[in-house]
C-alpha cells in the first residue's frame, strides 16, 4: 500500500488496486476482476439505492478495470447519474468516466448533453470547467451540434472567469477540428482575436491555439492577429527573466506562448506594415542573440525551452524566406548545434537545416557544413539521427558536391540500417540522375547501387537507368561495356541481370567488336544467369535473346536451339512458353527486313519527371521532397535527357505520366498486360501482323474495346448509360448540382485538338492528365487524376455527360473511379467513346470531391472533337483535285481567314496537321507553301470525307501573318466545325 494520497481516499478502490497488483498471474488478475465486476453489478442492480460516494467509488473501479485493458459494458448510466451530483468529486469522476469510455454514438449522449448544459449554465466556474473539459475530451459531432453556438458566447463574455475562458477556447478548438461547419465565428471573430491582448497569460496561451487553427482556415478574417501577435511576442522577448512570474520557466519567459506566437505568424506572409515587420525582425534577432548568451541555468529544461523558441523562430525565418541576413544567421546557429553534445540538438539541427538548404539565400551556407554532416552519417550512434543526416545530405546536394555526396551515401548504404535502405537507394538514384554531368558516372552509380543494395532497388530505379541509356546515345556503349563487366561477377543481383539483359539486347552490338565480348560470349554470359532468375527476368532475357538474333545473325542457331529446348518451349509458365514459341517462330519465318523492323532499337522515351522521384514523394509525403525539388528535378531531368529531341508537348505528357499507378507499364512505355515487355511499342502492331496467321491473339490497343452498348434508359440524364458489364458509377454523395463548365474549358479543349496526350487541367489541388487513342469510330481515353496535396480527397466522383443533342451523336462510357485519392497519389479512369454520327459539342466532365471538408466541384469539357475520328487518306495530286471539285457546292465548303496566333514554322504546322488526324499530302498543291490534307471521319452512321487546304501568307498587306483555311466535306456541318476548331490552332 502506498502512502495514502491526498484528497479522497477511496479505500475500497485502493484495496482493489492492491489486490490486482498482488495477482501473480494474468489468470488470477482476470479472476479478481470478474469477482469485482460481479460485485459492482450486484450493487448497481440491488434494491438499496446507492449513495453518491459508493456510486463514485464503483464507477472509478470500473474505470480502472477499463484502463487495464478490459471491456466494460455497464455502469454508464451510473456515471451519467454522477454528472448531476452536487458534489464536485462525484461529478468529476462521472465526467472522467464519460470522457474515457463513452463513444459518440452512445444512446446516453442526450442525457450527457443535458447534464453538460446544466453545468454550463450553473455560473459555477469549477462546474463549467468540468463540463467544458468533457466536451473537449469527447469532441463528438453531437456535442458540437449542441454546444458550438453557446461556447463562443462564454469565451468572449465580459464576466467569464479566466479559467473558464481558457477551457472554452480549447473546447471550441476541439469542436472546430471535429465539425468546422458547426463552429461559426462570424460576429465573434474580432473579440476572439483580441484575446491575444488579454492580461492573463493563461488565457492568451489557450486562446492562441484556437486563433492559430482558425487563421489557417480563414487567414483573411483573422489577419489582424498578426500585429497583435508581434507586439505580444515583442513584450515577452524583451522582458526580463523574472517579469512573467509563474509563466517563466527555468529563466525563460513564457516559452509555450512564445512558440505558439511564432507558430501563428507562420500562417501568414511577412507583415506588410513596415513598423510591424521591423518589430518582428527585432524579436527574431533578439532570439538569435540570446542563443549566443551564456545559459542562465545548467538545467536541460532551461536550454530546451530556450532552444524550442529558437527553432520555432528559425522555422518562421525559413517560412518567410526573404531575410538573407536572418537565414544565414539561423544557418550558423544550427551549424553550432551540429556538433553539440546533446543528441537532441544535433537531431533537430540536421532536421531544420534540411529546410534551410532549399532556400536560395542559405543553400550555400548550409553546404559549408558538409563534412560535419558526412561525419554524422558515419558516426552517430542513433539511427534516427543518421537518417536526418542522410536527409540533409540529400537536401544540400547540388552539382558542385553531388559526386562526393553520392559516394558517401553509397558507402553508407553498405552498412545502413535495413529500415532506411530503400529510401537511401531512391535518394542516391535521384541525385545521380539529377546531377549527372557525364552519364558514365550515372551508369556506374546505379550499377553500384544494384551491387550494394540490389534487394532494395525498386523497379523504378532500374527502369529509369534503362530509360536514360536509351535516350542518350553517347552513353550506350559505355553502359553495355559496364553491365557486361558487372555480369562477370559470379553472383550478381537479379536486378543486374535485368539491366544487363535489356541493355545488351539493345546495345550489345556496340561492344561486340571486342573478341572478349563477342556476341556469343555476351549471350552465354546472360544465359548463364537465366536459370537462377525469376520468371519475369527470364521473360525479359528471352526478349533480349530475340533481339540478339536481329543484332547478330551468327547467334541465331544457338539461340533457336535454346528456344527450342523443352525447358523453354514447354515451360509450365505460360508467359515463358508463349515467348519461346513466338520468338522461335518469328526468328524462323520473318525475313531479315521484317525482323529488323520488329526488333528495331527502342525509340527514345518521352521526357518525363523521374518516376523515382514520384515514388520517393509518395513514400515520404510532401514533407521530404518539396515541390521545388520536384520541379527542379523535372527541369534538369528534361535538360539532361535531351529534352529538345521532341516537341514541346512532351513535357505535358511527362507531367501527366508522372506518377501513373502502374509504373511498370508507364516506364517502359507499355501497357500492363502486354506480354512482350522488351519489344518496342511501335513494333506491337507489326508483331501482330506477322503472327496473325499463327493464330496469336491481337494484343493491340483496342482489342477489348467493344462499342459501348446503347442505353435503352435514355431518361437518365447521366449520359448514354452503362452497359450491363459495367457497374453503375457510385451514387453521388454530394447533392450539389454540377458546376457550370469553367470559363477556360473551351481553351483547354482547343489545346487537345491536335494532340491526344497531355495535361488537361491543373490547379493547386488537382492535376488531370489525359492519354487517348482512337481507331475507326471508337476511342479510349485514360484520365489520370493526381492529388497534388498531402491530404486525401474523399468522395471523389466524376460524371461524364453529353449535353443536349450530343447524346444521340456520341456514346460515352466512363468506368467508375476510386472514390478516394490519397495525398500525392493518382487514380486512373478509363472512358470509352463511340462516335455515332458527326457532332459539335464536347462531352462535359464534372468532378466532385471533398478536400479537407470543402466540396470541390468543377466541370471541364472533355477533349473529344470530331477530328479524333479521322482516318488519314493518302491520295495523289490528281485525285485530290478531282475530289475537291466534286465537293463544290457552296454549303460543303467552309472558309476562314485569320491572323496567325503562333509563328509560321513549317515543321510545327506539319506536326499540328498530322496531329489533326488527316493525311498530310506532299506535292499536291502547286504552291509549296500551302498544305493540303485528306481524311475520312468515321462514325457509326456514316463516313464523311474531308479535304483541307491551309494557305499561310507570311506578308499579308496588313504586315501581319495570316492564314486562309478552306475545308470541304461531304457534310456541310462538318466543314464548319472543322474550320472552327482549326482556326484556333495556328
Amino acid at each position: 500500500m502506498p502512502a495514502v494520497s491526498k484528497g479522497d481516499g477511496m479505500r475500497g478502490l485502493a484495496v482493489f488496486i492492491s489486490d490486482i497488483r498482488n495477482c501473480k498471474s494474468k489468470e488470477a488478475e482476470i479472476k479478481r476482476i470478474n469477482k469485482e465486476l460481479a460485485n459492482i453489478r450486484s450493487k448497481f442492480k440491488g434494491d438499496k439505492a446507492l449513495d453518491g460516494y459508493s456510486k463514485k467509488k464503483y464507477v472509478c473501479k470500473l474505470l480502472f478495470i477499463f484502463l487495464l485493458g478490459h471491456d466494460i459494458d455497464f455502469g454508464h448510466m451510473e456515471a451519467v447519474n454522477l454528472l448531476s451530483s452536487n458534489k464536485y468529486t462525484e461529478k468529476q469522476i462521472g465526467y472522467l468516466f464519460i470522457s474515457v469510455l463513452v463513444n459518440s454514438n452512445s444512446e446516453l449522449i442526450r442525457l450527457i448533453n443535458n447534464a453538460i448544459k446544466n453545468d454550463l449554465s450553473s455560473r459555477n466556474p469549477t462546474f463549467m470547467c468540468l463540463a467544458l473539459h468533457c466536451i473537449a475530451n469527447v469532441g463528438s459531432r453531437e456535442m458540437a451540434e449542441a454546444f458550438a453556438g453557446e461556447i463562443p458566447r462564454i469565451l468572449v463574455a465580459g464576466d467569464t472567469m479566466d479559467s473558464v475562458k481558457q477551457s472554452a477556447a480549447l473546447c471550441l478548438l476541439r469542436l472546430y477540428k471535429t465539425s468546422p461547419d458547426l463552429v461559426l465565428m462570424g460576429e465573434w471573430t474580432s473579440r476572439v482575436v483580441h484575446l491575444l491582448n488579454d492580461q492573463h497569460m493563461g488565457v492568451v496561451t489557450a486562446a492562441i491555439s484556437l486563433i492559430t487553427c482558425l487563421s489557417q482556415k480563414n487567414p483573411d478574417e483573422f489577419k489582424t492577429c498578426v500585429s497583435l501577435a508581434v507586439s505580444r511576442l515583442s513584450r515577452i522577448v524583451s522582458s526580463a527573466s523574472t517579469d512573467l512570474q509563474d509563466y517563466t520557466y527555468y529563466f525563460v519567459p513564457a516559452p509555450w506562448l512564445s512558440c505558439k506566437l511564432l507558430r501563428l505568424l507562420q500562417c501568414y506572409p511577412p507583415p506588410e506594415d513596415g513598423a510591424v515587420k521591423g518589430r518582428l525582425v527585432e524579436c527574431l534577432e533578439t532570439i538569435l542573440n540570446k542563443a549566443q548568451e551564456p545559459p542562465k541555468s545548467k538545467k536541460v529544461q532551461h536550454s530546451n525551452a530556450k532552444n524550442a523558441i529558437l527553432f520555432e523562430a528559425i522555422s518562421l525565418i525559413i517560412h518567410y524566406d526573404s531575410e538573407p541576413n536572418l537565414l544565414v544567421r539561423a544557418c550558423n546557429q544550427l551549424g553550432q548545434f551540429l556538433q553539440h553534445r546533446e543528441t537532441n540538438l544535433r537531431y533537430l539541427a540536421l532536421e531544420s537545416m534540411c529546410t534551410l538548404a532549399s532556400s536560395e539565400f542559405s543553400h550555400e551556407a548550409v553546404k559549408t557544413h558538409i563534412e560535419t554532416v558526412i561525419n554524422a552519417l558515419k558516426t552517430e550512434r542513433d539511427v534516427s539521427v543518421r537518417q536526418r543526416a542522410a536527409d540533409l545530405l540529400y537536401a544540400m546536394c547540388d552539382r558542385s558536391n553531388a559526386k562526393q555526396i553520392v559516394a558517401e551515401m553509397l558507402s553508407y548504404l553498405e552498412t545502413a540500417d535495413y529500415s532506411i535502405r530503400e529510401e537511401m537507394v531512391l535518394k542516391v538514384a535521384i541525385l545521380a540522375e539529377k546531377y549527372a554531368v557525364d552519364y558514365s558516372w550515372y551508369v556506374d552509380t546505379i550499377l553500384n547501387l544494384i551491387r550494394i543494395a540490389g534487394d532494395y532497388v525498386s523497379e523504378e530505379v532500374w527502369y529509369r537507368v534503362i530509360q536514360i541509356v536509351i535516350n542518350r546515345d553517347d552513353v550506350q556503349g559505355y553502359a553495355a561495356k559496364t553491365v557486361f563487366e558487372a555480369l562477370q561477377a559470379p553472383a550478381c543481383h537479379e536486378n543486374m541481370v535485368k539491366v544487363g539483359g535489356y541493355i545488351l539486347g539493345e546495345f550489345g552490338n556496340l561492344i561486340a567488336g571486342d573478341p572478349r565480348s563477342s556476341p556469343l560470349v555476351q549471350f552465354n554470359l546472360l544465359h548463364s544467369k537465366f536459370h537462377l532468375c525469376s520468371v519475369p527476368t527470364r521473360a525479359l532475357l528471352l526478349s533480349a535473346y530475340i533481339k540478339f538474333i536481329n543484332l547478330f545473325p551468327e547467334t541465331k542457331s544457338t539461340i533457336q536451339e535454346v528456344l527450342r529446348s523443352d525447358s523453354q518451349i514447354r515451360n509450365s509458365d505460360v508467359e515463358l512458353q508463349q515467348r519461346a514459341v513466338e520468338y522461335l517462330k518469328l526468328s524462323s519465318i520473318a525475313s531479315t527486313d521484317v525482323l529488323a523492323t520488329v526488333l528495331e532499337e527502342m525509340p527514345p522515351f518521352p521526357e518525363r519527371e523521374s518516376s523515382i522521384l514520384a515514388k520517393l514523394k509518395k513514400k515520404k509525403g510532401p514533407g521530404a521532397v518539396s515541390v521545388n525539388e520536384l520541379e527542379e528535378g523535372k527541369r534538369e531531368g528534361g535538360e539532361l535527357n535531351g529534352g529538345g529531341e521532341r516537341g514541346g508537348d512532351n513535357s505535358a505528357i511527362a507531367a501527366s505520366n508522372a506518377s501513373t499507378p502502374s509504373p511498370s507499364a508507364d516506364l517502359l512505355g507499355l501497357r500492363t498486360g502486354l506480354p512482350v515487355s522488351a519489344a518496342p511499342p511501335t513494333a506491337g502492331s507489326l508483331l501482330v501482323d506477322v503472327f496473325s496467321e499463327a493464330g496469336v491473339n491481337d494484343d493491340g490497343f483496342l482489342r477489348d474495346l467493344e462499342p459501348p452498348t446503347e442505353s435503352s434508359d435514355s431518361l437518365l440524364a447521366e449520359g448514354p448509360g452503362d452497359s450491363d458489364s459495367t457497374p453503375p458509377p457510385p451514387p453521388s454523395v454530394v447533392s450539389e448540382e454540377p458546376a457550370p463548365p469553367l470559363p477556360e474549358s473551351d481553351e483547354l479543349l482547343n489545346k487537345f485538338v491536335c494532340k491526344n496526350n497531355g495535361v488537361l487541367f491543373e490547379n493547386q489541388l488537382l492535376q488531370i492528365g489525359i492519354k487517348s487513342e482512337y481507331r475507326q469510330n471508337l476511342g479510349r481515353m485514360y484520365l489520370f487524376y493526381g492529388n497534388k496535396t498531402s491530404v486525401q480527397f474523399v468522395t471523389f466522383t466524376t460524371t461524364v455527360t453529353c449535353p443536349g443533342e450530343l447524346q444521340s451523336h456520341l456514346n460515352v462510357q466512363a468506368k467508375p473511379v476510386e472514390p478516394l485519392i490519397e495525398g500525392g497519389a493518382q487514380v486512373q479512369q478509363v472512358i470509352n467513346i463511340e462516335s455515332l454520327t458527326d457532332f459539335f459539342e464536347a462531352p462535359l466532365l464534372n468532378i466532385k470531391f471533398r478536400y479537407g471538408g470543402a466540396l470541390q466541384n468543377l466541370t471541364l469539357k472533355l477533349p473529344v472533337t470530331i477530328n479524333k475520328f479521322f482516318q488519314p487518306t493518302e491520295m495523289a495530286s490528281h485525285d485530290f483535285f478531282q475530289r475537291w471539285k466534286q465537293l463544290s457546292q457552296p454549303q460543303q465548303e467552309a472558309q476562314k481567314i485569320f491572323k496567325a496566333n503562333h509563328g509560321m514554322d513549317t515543321e510545327v504546322l506539319k506536326a499540328k496537321l498530322l496531329g489533326l488526324g488527316m493525311a498530310l499530302l506532299e506535292n499536291v498543291d502547286p504552291n509549296p507553301e500551302n498544305f493540303v490534307c485528306a481524311g475520312v471521319i468515321q462514325s457509326k452512321a456514316q463516313q464523311v470525307g474531308s479535304l483541307l487546304r491551309l494557305e499561310p501568307n507570311a506578308q499579308a498587306q496588313s504586315g501581319e501573318q495570316m492564314y486562309r483555311l478552306t475545308v470541304r466535306s461531304s457534310k456541310d456541318t462538318v466543314s464548319k466545325r472543322l474550320c472552327e476548331l482549326l482556326a484556333e490552332q495556328f
Binding site: V15, W256, R263, L348, T355, S384
Partner: protein
C-alpha cells in the same frame, strides 16, 4: 519543426491536430496512463500502444528523445521507472513537447510530493485531472504550475468539506 519550403506553402494544408496522444508506461511495458486527443477505436489504441511501447523500450539510454514513427513524431523521456511519451505532428516543436512532459512531471511531483509510479497507479484519476487542467485537447491550457495546482487543490478542498462519515466496512476496504 516544419519540413517544407515556402514554395510548397500554398498547396500545403496544415493538419490541425497538435498532440495526438500521450502515454505513460513503465519499464516493464505496463500502461499507466493514456490520453487520446484524436478519435480512435479501442482496437487501434491498443495496437498503437503495443507497438509504441515496444519501440520506445528498445531504445538505448543515450539516444535522442525524438523518433519518427509512422507519420508521426514521437517525443519521449524517461523519469525513474516511467516513460512519458507524446505523439505530435511532423511540423510540431519537439523541444517544447519535451518540456510539456517535464512540466507535467513537475505538476505530479508537486501534487503528490515526490511522485513515484505507485502514486499514479493508486491515484490514476488524479493524474487525469491534473493533465486535463494542464493540457486540453492536446494544447497547453495553463502553463503556470501555481494556477494548475490551485485548480486541483480547490477541488480537493470541496471534496473534504463534502465528505460524509463512512461505514466501518468501507474503512477497512471491504466494499
Amino acid at each position: 519543426m516544419r519540413k517544407k519550403s515556402t514554395a510548397a506553402y500554398s498547396a500545403y494544408i496544415y493538419k490541425i491536430e497538435k498532440m495526438q496522444f500521450m502515454l505513460l508506461f513503465s519499464r516493464q511495458g505496463k500502461l499507466r496512463l493514456q490520453k487520446w486527443y484524436v478519435p480512435l477505436s479501442d482496437k487501434e489504441k491498443k495496437k498503437i500502444t503495443r507497438e509504441l511501447v515496444q519501440t520506445v523500450l528498445a531504445r538505448k539510454p543515450k539516444m535522442c528523445s525524438f523518433l519518427e514513427w509512422r507519420d508521426l513524431k514521437i517525443v519521449y523521456k524517461r523519469y525513474a521507472s516511467l516513460y512519458f511519451c507524446c505523439a505530435i505532428e511532423d511540423q510540431d516543436n519537439e523541444l517544447i513537447t519535451l518540456e510539456i512532459i517535464h512540466r507535467y512531471v513537475e505538476l505530479l511531483d508537486k501534487y503528490f510530493g515526490s511522485v513515484c509510479e505507485l502514486d499514479i497507479i493508486f491515484n490514476f484519476e488524479k493524474a487525469y485531472f491534473i493533465l486535463d487542467e494542464f493540457l486540453l485537447g492536446g494544447e497547453a491550457q495553463e502553463t503556470s504550475k501555481k494556477n494548475v495546482l490551485k485548480a486541483i487543490e480547490q477541488a480537493d478542498l470541496l471534496q473534504e468539506e463534502a465528505e460524509t462519515p463512512r461505514s466501518v466496512l468501507e474503512e477497512i476496504g471491504l466494499t
